[in-house]
């Protein structure tokens, strides 16, 4: 076995936060991506978008200060920062489909080497489907980033040649931030941005089962 340690959820969130730039308009998807907000560098102004109609979303309120008219896409109470704004749903999704958001960070079941995304349905028979804003977020931002474990609990790569789960969008993922490596999806396949210390390039390729350009 090689001598490497996976990034923790917090370290991964920190890694994503490093690449967000001052002045960026960002949507952090429900679940793991919301952790990124905790690691944005002090003094940097990043405007968080929530698809239910908020720009300039702030952190959770103190206990007792919750206002249930002010919630995020995950339906949790949030706050509004000075300079923040409210708007209706069509405007909110125009911010996505119109290409106004700089970065959208999403979770995923699978991502293909060329950036196809599957994150809304496992296609399980009898399951009730639900999509929400996933497809809009996937195709709308200037850059779509995915944050996930590289492998499933069973050890299969979630980065694949071709997604077997139902697609959310085609060729839309630009970067994968995983617990073992950061990868870029390009029309010609995967390219390495960084990997955890001690993980050999060949071993990473072996885990994914696909070539990774250095």
């Amino acid at each position: 076995m090689s001598n490497y340690t996976k990034r923790s959820k917090q370290e991964l969130a920190q890694r994503v936060a490093q690449d967000i730039f001052d002045g960026a308009y960002v949507n952090l998807g429900i679940g793991q991506p919301t952790l990124v907000a905790n690691y944005l560098p002090e003094g940097m102004e990043v405007v968080l978008h929530s698809e239910n109609g908020i720009l300039g979303m702030g952190p959770a309120p103190a206990a007792g200060d919750e206002d249930y008219d002010l919630i995020n896409a995950g339906k949790q109470p949030v706050t509004l920062l000075p300079g923040g704004a409210y708007f209706h749903h069509a405007d909110s999704f125009a911010m996505m489909r119109g290409g106004h958001l700089d970065i959208s960070v999403l979770g995923a079941f699978q991502v293909s080497a060329t950036g196809d995304l599957a994150n809304w349905s496992t296609g399980e028979a009898g399951a009730i489907p639900a999509v929400g804003g996933a497809m809009d977020l996937a195709v709308g931002a200037k850059e779509t980033w995915v944050m996930m474990d590289l492998l499933t609990k069973q050890g299969q790569s979630k980065v694949v040649q071709s997604c077997t789960y139902p697609l959310t969008g085609i060729g839309c993922v630009k970067r994968i931030y995983a617990d073992l490596a950061t990868l870029e999806c390009t029309p010609s396949g995967l390219r390495l941005i960084d990997k955890v210390e001690g993980l050999e390039h060949t071993e990473l390729e072996h885990l994914i089962g696909l070539p990774v350009q250095a």
């Binding site: 249930y68 489909r97 497809m135």
Partner: protein, 238 residues
Amino acid sequence: MINKISPSIAEALTGVADGSTVLIGGFGTAGIPNELIEGLIEQGARELTVVNNNAGNGDSGLAALLKAGRVRKIICSFPRQTDSWVFDELYRSGKIELELVPQGNLAERLRAAGAGVGAFFTPTGFGTELALNADGTPKETRRINGRDYVLEYPIHGDLALIKAETGDRWGNLTYRKAARNFGPVMATAAKRTVATVHEVLELGQLDPEAIVTPGIFVSRIVKIERVATQAGGFKRAA
């Protein structure tokens, strides 16, 4: 004289026909017009097509409308939730039809209806299962300037039920925080829009620069009390 202020929810919802398409605002705990949904249950219209982001939570509001067997079809983006048992049961037993729509397409199809747009090409959903019609045939697609799009049609409502914050007798509305969500687009997309407000102001007291939904899109306004709902509901702002 124009007076859109209605004395009661029952009056505002008189004559809703069976088979109507009803647009219902709200997202999460914010902006759900629960009082109007209860009024619609009382009113008794059946065979409804309901458009909402979700498919009801718990046993009240939209879930109660579903449970009462009034809804034939639901058009929404996210039916499956931890407390959507009423919908889940109806769906699994084949008693309700579901049209699943990506949330942004839902909003834009409503906007298109309100703006008189015949159909529109959207990048959202291209190449996915949701770019198929109910019968499994592919929706029309087109490549425009190197990007692929799906053709989507408007969603017209016979009735829209929305929750606003403040209104006047001309039907002008403002909203509160993220409770705005679908309200303004749904108001434009229905033949008849009924809004609840917590406060009615005299004409001219609403700042014209701050009116979100101009009265032309609103048919009736009913004043309701602020109630802290079980989900948290409204809590008074500072």
